[in-house]
Amino acid sequence: MSIKLRQQLTIAVLAVGLGLLAWGAKFHAQPVFSENNDKGLLTAESKLIKEVSIGGVVRDPYGKLRMTYTGEAPQSCPT
């Protein structure tokens, strides 16, 4: 593989990575519904990262993202 091509690929991968990172951090959000009602709250991806790390969100049978708890968060993930 030529050095030129490697340099171009490096720039491309870096640009894609930074683009995805910026998009996810700034703009990406999903509606998450509370455990007991159908009121969805737009939740940023960074918040979702925290929630999945404790098993706090599941996709319910209707395809909606739903919290698994109300009030105090679980201490660790279910696995």
Partner: protein, 282 residues
Amino acid sequence: MSTAKQSPIQKVVSKLIAWRTAIQSLFLLVWLDPLNLRMHTVCAPVFHCYACPLATFACPIGVIAQFSALHLFPFIAIGLLLAVGALFGSIICGWVCPFGLLQDLAAKVPTPRLKIPQWMGYFRYVVLLGTVLAIPYFFGEGHPLFICRICPAGGVEKALPDVVSAAIGGNPIPWPNAIKISIVLAFFVAIFITIRPWCRIFCPLGAIFGFLNRFSLVTMDLKEHQCTQCGRCRTLCTYGIQPDKQPNDHRCIRCLECTQCGPKALQTQLLFDDQPREENKA
């Protein structure tokens, strides 16, 4: 014997190699949350289970798998890994990752070591595609082969400390399931009979960074005109790679020991360093 002129980055690397374990240990101050920040809204580019009570950041592999189970695209985790991989490649594995440090420390124990066949390095991609992406996507988080359920990091960093602390405190012991216990035991046996078994055979994060080795900004270069083909670099490489043939091999964890060969023909440098060269073909 003449030696090649060292690149600026190689001059720094040459001084740091002897301190690699110390540098890995210093990074523990970042990963082990000494300030109790629990910044789990942020992924770290290393393999460190977020279930660990001492985890500062979220594990990117766990996040990707959980997002896959939720049928969401993990923009932040993938973006972070691509950006960090494009900059550093598997230097993260060799110099920064706490799970790598644990295995490196075990490797210092003088026990007989088994050689791992090179082809087993490809199994990491099976782990990545299977247990991190496909199984979570199609079967959800409850599947027994979901990465977090079979990952030894969770067992070593969460289940084991829980068992020990309960035993010391005289509380009921929260035994993990038999699979987790078997995986943790197998992991502890493996790290004493071979070198970095998890990183070299299973690690999905290492698969990503290793794949990006060829495209990373910090790269390895062989000065062919300086190489005497003495084979010293292969002796220095404890991972069984042939650095003179494939300096940017996907299985390399960038310990950079091979750069200490006599002629200094292998060097760490930036991909954009102003030196015309071509990637050496295998």
